[in-house]
């Protein structure tokens, strides 16, 4: 469970986040929407302990992360960056093994238990066949799955994904989203940022919309994904159409829809 209370952050004089509060429960997929440069990444960086000097509180599993070491925080929350491109070519197994770092002493190397955890994580994501492959040779979708497996090997119950589908084709987007949806259903707390309101409508349990560093709207997808909110959020006149018994909502720019 993640709870953010009155979080504010500024780079020097420039405020980036003001008074952000929200919760993400266990078993929930929370999508964070917002236009470019609105502070989504800053929010993530604060929640991951990468940006000190914010005001307000970030609680993960009831613990204020300000008092946690990198190691302890890593056991609570795992981060899946948008793209991961290690400078050197590691095997998939090596990459996932790095997820076990927080459980190992500074001078120790992973052993049998960690290798078993890697197998478990790969199996769970359904990519056991990639184990001996080189990470650099994988496609974008495969890489994303490997990094998700690494997060699972980290044994954290909170998963934070930064635009996990940003550079993927449609098939891989669906694959990744259904995968993280399944993880949420299993009891993980999953938070993702995304630029795709339609997908967030289809897959999320809850949506947080941020505009100019403030919470514009939050709630169920049905509440947040509305014509008014989206038009405000992206500063564009947007028309929504409902399809398939409102299981899908499609955005169209007004200048096309109103012709």
């Amino acid at each position: 469970m993640v709870e953010v209370k009155n979080l504010s952050f500024s780079y020097g004089e420039r405020p980036v986040l003001s008074d952000i509060s929200f919760r993400a429960e266990e078993g929930e997929l929370l999508s964070v929407l917002g236009s470019n440069g609105v502070g989504k990444s800053t929010l993530f960086r604060c929640m991951l302990g990468l940006l000190p000097g914010y005001s307000g509180q970030v609680l993960i599993a009831g613990q204020d992360i300000e008092n946690l070491s990198a190691r302890k925080l890593a056991r609570l929350a795992a981060y899946i960056p948008q793209t991961s491109s290690p400078a050197f070519n590691y095997s998939v197994e090596d990459i996932v093994l790095m997820g076990c770092s927080s459980g190992l002493g500074v001078f120790s190397s992973p052993g049998r238990a960690e290798l078993a955890r890697v197998d478990w994580a790969l199996e769970k994501i359904g990519i056991a066949g990639l184990k001996k492959r080189c990470f650099h040779h994988l496609s974008g979708g495969e890489r994303q799955l490997v990094i998700i497996a690494r997060a699972l090997a980290q044994n954290a119950r909170v998963l934070m994904l930064d635009e996990p589908t940003a550079s993927l084709d449609f098939g891989n987007q669906m694959l990744i989203l259904s995968q993280i949806k399944a993880l949420a259903a299993e009891g993980y707390t999953v938070i993702q940022t995304t630029h795709n309101p339609e997908q967030s409508y289809m897959f999320s349990d809850r949506i947080l919309a941020i505009k100019d560093g403030r919470v514009l709207a939050q709630g169920s997808p049905r509440q947040v994904i509305s014509q008014e909110t989206l038009s405000l959020l992206y500063g564009a006149d947007i028309r929504l159409s409902s399809l398939f018994g409102d299981r899908v909502r499609v955005c169209t720019p007004a200048f096309l829809a109103d012709k």
Binding site: L48, L50, F88, L104, V106
Partner: protein, 360 residues
């Protein structure tokens, strides 16, 4: 959905995997270790006074254990083995091991396959220190100590300046390293300009070319501890180095505090570079080329890469040093030979068909 996953599972459409390595990491280390031991024994027998294997073992055991072994060797042979060849062989192995371990470590913490041991100015500082000591007429230990000290001072300066640099920390370090290196190189050039051209200038030039001529037990004792002090932590931290190559944010989110671990690794790698360069002068290429060679054998996993770099670097420099002392009647400075061998080799590495094991 399941079809897509199925496709991934089978790896259909992907590049068929050529990375299934023929040898496991452990086997590579065992082979490298065995090759190094053989090279060491072979090197003892090389030189002006021929020594047989039996005589060699006799001399060593006699010295080690004071066993009552029947003397089958002459005293000259014993002196050649113990006072001339032993320190030189050990130093060649140690310097090679240290330089390539330092190179591998720097490449990891800077996430940069092109990083070499002199990236933070350790070599430029050592060169300046040595040139200054020779200019002032200090003896051999004085030159070594000055090179070692100036090397550490230079890297400390780079580190201090980069702390104040705006922007990304790693880039700040590299840029500060380049700038301060060129500053000290200019200082060295100035000393060469003003040095006595009949004896001091050639001595400085020769030192800068890199050589293990005149390596003795005194030098060995001087650098042994700093070398071990640098090598041991790098061996212990070797698995964590993998996580550092991912960059600060990712490392931290995995529970590894890069901001604390990186300076520790840099300190170790700097100790290794400073102590190596202070006894051998500038020996380029080893620190860059050997880790890349080893990457092709062991992969990028530092658990195997780090010890493999140490063994491979030691063996490589020992072989090159043997060449440098036996190829011609006058010694060829080893720094020249490593460049002659290193540069074409590296070109071969990057142009060879197939995958280059750094950033692909």
């Amino acid at each position: 959905m399941d079809e897509a996953r199925e496709k991934i599972l089978k790896g259909a459409g992907g590049i068929p995997d050529r990375e299934a390595r023929r040898l496991s990491g452990g086997a590579v280390l065992a082979l490298l270790g065995a090759a190094l031991v053989l090279a060491v024994f072979g090197s003892f027998m090389l030189g002006r006074y021929p020594v047989s294997l039996g005589q060699l073992l006799g001399i060593i055991f006699h010295k080690l254990s004071f066993l009552n072994i029947e003397q089958t060797w002459t005293d000259t042979q014993a002196i050649a083995v113990l006072n001339v060849r032993l320190p030189r062989i050990l130093l060649a192995v140690l310097v090679g091991a240290c330089l390539s371990a330092a190179g591998a470590a720097y490449q990891g913490v800077f996430q940069n396959p092109m990083a070499a041991p002199d990236i933070l100015g350790a070599s430029a500082g050592a060169g300046f220190g040595a040139a200054l000591a020779i200019f002032l007429g200090l003896g051999s230990v004085g030159v070594t100590a000055a090179a070692f000290g100036m090397s550490l001072v230079t890297v400390a300066l780079v580190f201090f300046v980069s702390r104040r640099a705006k922007g990304e920390r790693v880039m700040g370090l590299i840029l500060a390293g380049i700038m301060i290196s060129s500053l000290f190189q200019a200082g060295t050039s100035f000393i060469k300009l003003t040095a006595d051209p009949t004896n001091k200038l050639p001595a400085i030039t020769y030192w800068l070319m890199g050589s293990l001529v005149g390596a003795d037990n005194e030098e060995l004792r001087f650098v042994l501890w700093p070398m071990l002090l640098g090598l041991l932590p790098l061996l212990l931290l070797r698995w964590r180095l993998n996580v550092l190559t991912l960059g600060d944010s990712e490392a931290r989110s995995l529970g590894v505090d890069a901001a604390r671990l990186r300076p520790a690794v840099i300190l170790c790698a700097t100790l290794l570079t400073a102590s190596s360069v202070s006894v051998s002068g500038m020996i380029g290429w080893v620190g860059l080329v050997i880790p890349h060679m080893m990457r092709r054998l062991t992969g990028s996993d530092y658990r195997y890469l780090m010890p493999a770099s140490m063994l491979g670097g030691g063996g490589f420099l020992l072989l090159v040093d043997n060449l440098s002392r036996s190829l011609t009647s006058t010694e060829i400075p080893i720094g020249i030979l490593t460049a002659f061998i290193g540069a074409p080799f590296f070109l071969l590495l990057i142009t060879r068909r197939g995958e280059y094991n750094g950033r692909s």
